[in-house]
């Protein structure tokens, strides 16, 4: 039996005092405990939960966009848009305005106060001062943006295609594709929602919301001396084991970032490909599956995330002594995804998913699953190859991809004079250098 104390999250001391008062009989009067803080008299069931992380901030400007190798926080969202710009000039205006808005939202600050006879400039759900709360917003463009509308066709990234169905897919058109995807990630869902609403309100003539999916990952207690592990998904397994390390700069350059000497168009350097998949999990059925079978399907131990012949999540799977799959089945999810055979290092992808939980289906089952997001410098060698390898996996009984899309994540924004999409628009002649 685990010692409960070690699992206790560290609470700010005020909260601890309030819990103490509760245990003493529930009467929140200041006179009960000598020197009790004044807040006890204001205790209400609707007091906001406290966080000491709202001022956490990720830089916006950089060679590459944030939100890719940035550590993934607890709350995420992907929102997809149709771009309504009628001309390349309007498209430039869209990107410039979007950049301005993202720069503000991710750094935080006070939105302008307007005459109360006007609608407020900010939706106010974070209060009168917008706190960054570790927010990153990552902008990526879909293949459809490179159609006849803006003359961008000759500049399309080489491997960017409209996501086609894989064999187990049941893609719903209303949940797929888009001209522009925005990935929001922060400490709390409300920060993401605040940002989405701000962007929608700012650009009604240039962006039309197409679909969105929010998600979360469960936090774990801080354990000194224990290396952090991947957050669990809704199958109860750690999700992201064996993810390439963001600290391995050479690896990131090789598998994530488009390089200056690649065969991609020059403007795409320092960008990456983004694969988004909304993957429904049949959780009731999964929860009725024997643990042994679950582990055989995934290829890892559920409790620890360790590979079948390992003891911790960080142990690498080793199939060299297991050619017939007696230890890790040949069709286990992790083995199909990455057989660790010669050459399979070319197919590594950087995953950064969230779990989603929507409503109830017509059959009375839970609509939950994985908001899968992966980044790679080559969409074909990366996600597409890996997904094709998974065709026919036993896990398919439990999952059904229903939405998402393929996008190209734009290079970073260097400074206040730069903007998202500038390199693409300059290459296409829609924006003049130095504007």
């Amino acid at each position: 039996m685990k010692d409960r104390k070690s699992n206790e999250p560290t609470l700010p001391s005020r909260r601890r005092v309030l819990i103490g008062l509760g245990a003493a009989g529930g009467a929140f009067t200041g006179s009960l405990v000598a020197g009790a803080p004044a807040q006890a008299d204001n205790e209400s069931v609707t007091n906001a939960p406290v966080s000491d992380k709202t001022l956490e901030r990720q830089p916006f400007y950089g060679l590459r966009q944030a939100g890719i190798v940035t550590p993934r926080p607890a709350a995420g969202m992907v929102a997809s848009f149709d771009v309504l710009a009628k001309t390349p000039t309007d498209l430039v205006r869209m990107f410039q305005t979007l950049t301005e808005e993202i720069a503000f939202l991710t750094q935080g600050g006070e939105p302008p106060q307007l005459d109360p006879k006007l609608p407020p400039s900010d939706n106010g759900i974070l209060g009168p001062v917008v706190t960054p709360d570790n927010l990153t917003i990552t902008a990526s463009v879909g293949a459809s943006l490179f159609d006849e509308r803006y003359g961008l066709k000759p500049y399309k990234p080489a491997r960017l295609v409209r996501m086609a169905s894989f064999r187990n897919d049941a893609l719903e058109p209303s949940l797929c594709h888009g001209d522009l995807s925005l990935q929001f990630s922060s400490n709390t869902p409300d920060t993401n929602i605040h940002a989405l609403r701000a962007i929608v309100k700012r650009l009604p003539d240039l962006l039309l919301l197409r679909w969105k999916q929010e998600g979360s990952v469960p936090p774990i207690p801080v354990k000194p001396g224990v290396p952090p592990g991947s957050a669990r998904n809704f199958l109860g397994f750690r999700d992201g084991s064996a993810n390439p390390s963001p600290h391995d700069a050479n690896l990131m350059e090789r598998i994530v970032w488009v390089q200056p000497d690649s065969d991609e168009p020059g403007w795409a350097t320092h960008g990456t490909y983004q694969a988004v998949r909304i993957i429904r999990n049949f959780v009731e059925r999964w929860d009725r599956t024997p643990l042994q079978e679950q582990q055989a399907i995934i290829g890892r131990h559920k409790a620890t995330g360790a590979p079948m012949q390992g003891t911790t999540e960080h142990d690498l799977p080793d199939y060299t002594n297991d050619p017939e799959g007696k230890i890790t089945p040949l069709d286990a999810h992790i083995r199909l995804a990455n057989p660790r055979s010669h050459g399979s290092e070319a197919n590594l992808i950087l995953r950064r998913p969230f779990n989603y939980s929507n409503g109830v289906t017509k059959s009375g089952q839970l609509d939950q699953g994985l908001l899968f997001i992966a980044y790679q410098s080559d969409l074909e060698k990366g996600f597409i190859t890996v997904q094709k390898r998974l065709e026919g996996e036993p896990l398919e009984e439990y999952i059904k991809p229903v939405g998402g899309g393929f996008f190209f994540t734009l290079p970073g924004v260097a400074n206040e004079r730069d903007f998202l999409g500038r390199t693409l628009l300059e290459a296409a002649g829609a924006a003049q250098p130095g504007n």
Partner: protein, 275 residues
């Protein structure tokens, strides 16, 4: 004109009284009186047409003339949709005249489901006018009641001005997705009604805003022009194509213009110093 003056004078007095506390330096309360009176005339004209059209429509329904009733349904609704924010001031009548099946626990089968959309369901989904007699009678009575109540109403200026944005919110929420007229798919008629009503209000107050913010006026006019141009592609004779004919591309153009108008027109009351 002489007949209407006493009414206007009475309305004038009340309007000035309510504006006294909220006057903003740039727009004098007196300046709003003219446009509000003009708007009341517009509403009155629309109501006269609504009453006449609803009579013809409900007569056809009661006579069991399904084809005629179908042809009269959407045109009758246009007058209602043009003045919807004013009609909504009487929420009991708005519910009775214009609510949809979603608002009733048993949906289309709910015996309480009233008004235009109940009849729409009978005519299009069931291709029958059977049992619609009482619904038609009630609709006619409600429209007559609405006419009477609006004639007696003093139009609060902030409701009139706010109505321009409210009409665009209507479109943004239900017409643009084809949810309003889900059996007949005559949403584009409704859309035109909402659009006409919104534009009328804007035009009436435009001179007051143009002084302060000509760029704003230009932007709003440009978006109205876009709506007009796009919607008119779907005109047929004296009506419109059904909603399903609206291409995805055009739906997005309309959505963009409607959402932008909703944002911009939401500034109108503030720009005129109204609460």
């Amino acid at each position: 004109m002489t007949l209407r003056l006493p009414l206007m004078a009475a309305a004038l007095a009340v309007v000035i009284g309510s504006l006294a506390q909220t006057a903003r330096a740039a727009v004098a309360p007196m300046d709003l009186v003219g446009p509000v009176s003009e708007y009341k005339l517009y509403v009155s004209e629309k109501l006269q047409k609504l009453v006449a059209d609803t009579k013809a429509f409900t007569d056809a329904v009661k006579a069991g003339d399904i084809e005629k009733a179908k042809a009269l349904f959407a045109p009758a609704r246009m007058s209602y949709e043009a003045i919807e924010p004013v009609a909504e001031l009487f929420s009991d009548l708005d519910v009775s005249i214009d609510s949809r099946a979603d608002d009733y626990e048993q949906g289309e089968q709910d015996p309480v489901f009233p008004g235009f959309h109940r009849i729409e369901y009978g005519l299009w989904a069931q291709n029958s006018a059977a049992g619609l007699g009482p619904v038609a009678d009630k609709l006619m009575a409600d429209v007559n009641e609405l006419d009477k109540r609006i004639a007696e109403l003093t139009f609060p200026p902030e409701k009139v001005v706010g109505g321009a944005a409210a009409l665009m919110e209507e479109v943004a929420a239900t017409k643009i997705s084809g949810e309003e007229d889900r059996y007949s798919h005559t949403d584009l008629w409704d859309f035109q009604g909402n659009f006409d009503g919104s534009r009328k209000i804007f035009e009436l107050f435009r001179p007051l805003v143009e002084k302060e913010d000509p760029a704003f006026v230009e932007k709003v006019e440009a978006n109205f022009a876009t709506l007009d141009k796009t919607l008119s592609k779907y005109k047929t004779g004296d009506g419109f194509e059904t909603y399903d004919k609206l291409t995805d591309a055009d739906r997005k153009v309309l959505a963009g213009a409607v959402n932008t108008l909703a944002e911009d027109l939401s500034q109108l009351r503030g720009k005129l110093g109204l609460n």
